[in-house]
Amino acid sequence: MLGFILRRLGTFIPTFIGVSIVSFLFIRLLPGDPILLMAGERGMSDDRYAQLMTQFGFDKPLLTQYWDYLNGLIRGDLGLSFKTKRPVWDEFFALFPATLELSLCAIAFAIGLGIPAGIVAAVNRGKWPDQALMSTALVGYSMPIFWWALLLIIFFSGTLGWTPVSGRISLMFFFPTDTGFMLIDSFRSGQAGALASAVEHLILPTIVLGTIPLAVIARQTRSAMLEVLSEDYVRTAKAKGLSPLRVNGVHALRNAMIPVITVIGLSVGTLMAGAILTETIFSWPGIGKWMVEGIGSRDYTAVQGGLLMIAVIVMVVNLVVDLLYGLINPKIRQR
């Protein structure tokens, strides 16, 4: 197992260098000069332009700029955000816990409902539960996020008044956010109602963000289960008189899990990169919106640093998924 992990970690280094090059070049290849954008309609003199180009090091050859960037990376320095003038590292980690918290809730919601829905649909193949669940999944998958979120807000927050409209916690609560995870910080604060407020604020964003992964997981579970359910060993298990719960829930599901875990892994990776629409609508202070704003203002350092960090996180998630494959199917581990 250790060898497997080390082999996987070994592939990190070239991937990391590759991603650093891509993230560095990506934002620079976009048309648009950050200094001209900064000046806006006001414009600036040629002298001032040249002065700022030197101050930010944009006048150096691209290779030198990359080398400086790489040197910074080795020291753990992602540079100062061009827009906010604050360290990119600080900016990223001020926002990332919010994205992580929401992503984990969304994926838990998607797994918690998606896998059972997939199993029920597969077991009842062609019958009404299958058709109802899969049609709902298709609707969920096709739903425009923006519209879905506003619909939920208007109904649950506006009409019924059950959930708050947006934010992470009611503004009446004020406590230090040491970990950045509102569920943990609100619990640690000891303030009455703080944790509940944090939970309330998570409900709608979790549903909105979890809807598409839920639909994908349900459909994937169904098709994987159908494949496995037609295998000989399942028939044997049934013939041996095992309960349907044991046949479907243990024998079939475990073997159907590999493609489902792949889908979950991919979804987690995508969610970690930030959910721009969900974050914007629910005023959720995550990295998705931060990255988009960075691209808009050609904030080279923020975008290249942010992309790199996201890539590292996605790589780690993939590693975890690979390890899970090994746990489920020992044959993969031995390869």
Binding site: P31, Q55, I153, S157, G158
Partner: protein
């Protein structure tokens, strides 16, 4: 473990019952549109940043009276201008206290050292704060301060002298701008000694009506009223900015009582908001102008009659209806009506396609093909430049002018549109910085600005003489007269088709009292109260 889960569930249930949104009467929540870039206003140019910093936490030497563009004393009780217009002497207010917070306790009152430091850090490359937080001091540079200010000296504890390199009447208005906010020299020195100078931009200390308490990026900013504020403590004890980037969601928050003021309601929602008895909607024309600038150096646009004819071919009402959708007013002058010296006597070019066609024919212009540049971005003065260009394309087709619409990436657009031999008329606009007419007329139409802010490349001596004269005269009545004349000349010469001034809406719950729309687009909460 099970018990823990049960405890958690129990806590959650109790909390849900308790946490229905209700704020103390003395807390005002503002649904702001975005996160500030930082809290040192001199480092940035965005209104969102100024709202969170200079407009609540800091003061300037002079400030604009709330809701107007009229200058009033602030940290300076009075000022004198030397006869040659080169020396400005400010008498400072005594007994002004800086904020005492959990991160800083001042040992002295505000004095001239703070003023000198606030400007020298932006002006002098050898100031230890000049490069802190990647300082580029864009506004200070953009307003040509480095060329204008020769020295800033502390004459005594409560007197500061600014010596200029040339007479500049808008200097006082510049002192009311956000970059001219006064920071604490004592705090800055303490941070430098502690090796954390960048905190000046993260944990601000000012003399303003609210002191900074805490900030969570993209979520919330908290302020508390400054007990010893020199102009009297604010009516509201706590001010909270709930950062809400989506305006539809902001509207829902307003309805749910989760915030009191919404900074940027969607124009489409305004009619519904106006019908809601629990809400108040204020509206005012913004301090901006959207225009189409011809290149007056290129034929046939060097001919004033051709420009006039084209102006007469534009149906502004159609633009207001389709592009602004009710959030714009037709512009006839190059400055908005909220600025002093606005000349209401000028007459706009009427919409008359027939006459326009005849005028073009009389000038021998036939089968004219022109380019209209459409900006790729949304601006307050032009919410949809592409659509605006399309409306003009249709209008011009009616007078026999064939229009090709072109666009570039925003940075490129700004750069290429400055070129002297530019092919085509440019859609652009301007938002005022300091409420001084010079900030529009000289920056956008002066001879010095040709090849830069003057997109019409229009250098017209009679006009330029008037605005140059107005720059060096201190008497406002005299300046008003000169600017009014300049607007008349502008209208006769038509280097632009003036299109529109945006209309700004602010929506608030009825309990919010005395909120005034800031012509500069800011949100100022000193002077605002909540009905009990």
């Amino acid at each position: 473990m099970i018990l823990n889960k049960l405890q958690l569930l129990g806590l959650a249930a109790i909390g849900i019952a308790m946490s229905s949104t209700s704020y103390a009467q003395d807390t005002l929540v503002y649904c702001s549109e975005g996160s500030p870039e930082g809290f040192d206003p001199a480092l940035y140019t965005a209104g969102t940043t100024f709202d969170a910093s200079s407009r609540q936490v800091y003061n300037k030497l002079v400030e604009f009276e709330r809701g107007t563009t009229v200058i009033a004393p602030a940290l300076a009780e009075s000022y004198e201008i030397s006869e040659d217009g080169l020396v400005y002497t400010f008498k400072l207010r005594s007994g002004v206290k800086f904020h005492t917070t959990s991160f800083f306790t001042p040992t002295r009152d505000f004095n001239s050292q703070d003023v000198v430091f606030s400007f020298e850090r932006q002006r002098l490359a050898d100031n230890p704060y000049n490069l802190v937080s990647g300082g580029t001091w864009e506004y200070f540079n953009g307003m040509s301060m480095p060329d204008l200010i020769q020295s800033v000296e502390a004459v005594d504890d409560l007197t500061v002298k600014f010596t200029l390199t040339r007479p500049e009447a808008p200097m006082i208005a510049n002192m009311g701008m956000d970059f001219a906010s006064i920071v604490s020299e004592e705090y800055a020195t303490a941070l430098l000694e502690a090796g954390t100078p960048e905190k000046l931009n993260q944990e601000p200390i000012g003399t303003g009506p609210f002191k900074f308490i805490a900030y969570q990026k993209d979520a919330v900013i908290r302020y508390q009223a400054h007990e010893d504020y020199w102009a009297g403590k604010a009516s509201i004890d706590n001010l909270v900015f709930a950062i809400t980037p989506d305006n539809s969601v902001g509207y829902q928050k307003l309805l749910a009582g989760e915030c009191h003021v919404l900074g940027y309601p969607n124009p489409a929602d305004v009619a519904t908001m106006q019908e809601d008895d629990s809400l108040t909607v204020l509206e005012q024309e913004g301090l901006n102008v959207g225009y189409l600038a011809y290149n007056t150096t290129v034929p046939p646009y060097d001919n004033v009659n051709v420009r006039k004819a084209l102006n007469m071919g534009i149906n502004k009402q159609a633009i207001l209806d389709t592009v602004f959708q009710g959030s714009g007013k037709a512009a006839k002058n190059p400055i908005p009506p909220t600025i002093w010296s606005y000349n209401d006597a000028t007459v706009d070019d009427e919409y008359n396609p027939e006459k326009a066609k005849e005028m073009l024919a009389a000038e021998g212009v036939e089968d004219l093909k022109m380019k209209i540049w459409a900006m790729p971005v949304v601006r307050p003065y032009n919410p949809n430049a592409r659509r605006m260009a399309e409306v003009m394309q249709e209008d011009f087709a009616k007078i026999g002018v064939e229009v090709e619409i072109v666009s570039y990436e925003w940075g490129e657009y700004l750069k290429l549109s400055r070129e002297l031999d530019r092919d085509g008329a440019v859609l652009l606009g301007w938002t005022g910085d300091n409420g001084d007419p010079d900030n529009f007329l000289a920056v956008l139409l002066g001879c010095d600005a040709v090849g830069n802010g003057n997109r019409a490349q229009w250098c017209h001596e009679p006009f330029d003489d008037l605005i140059q004269q107005a720059k060096v005269v201190s008497d406002q009545a005299e300046r008003t007269d000169l600017y009014e004349q300049a607007q008349t000349v502008f209208k006769e010469q038509a280097p632009w088709a003036t299109i529109a001034h945006s209309v700004v809406y602010k929506t608030m719950r009825n309990e919010v009292q005395d909120f005034k729309i800031d012509p500069f687009g800011g949100h100022i909460f000193y002077g605002v109260s909540l009905a009990k």
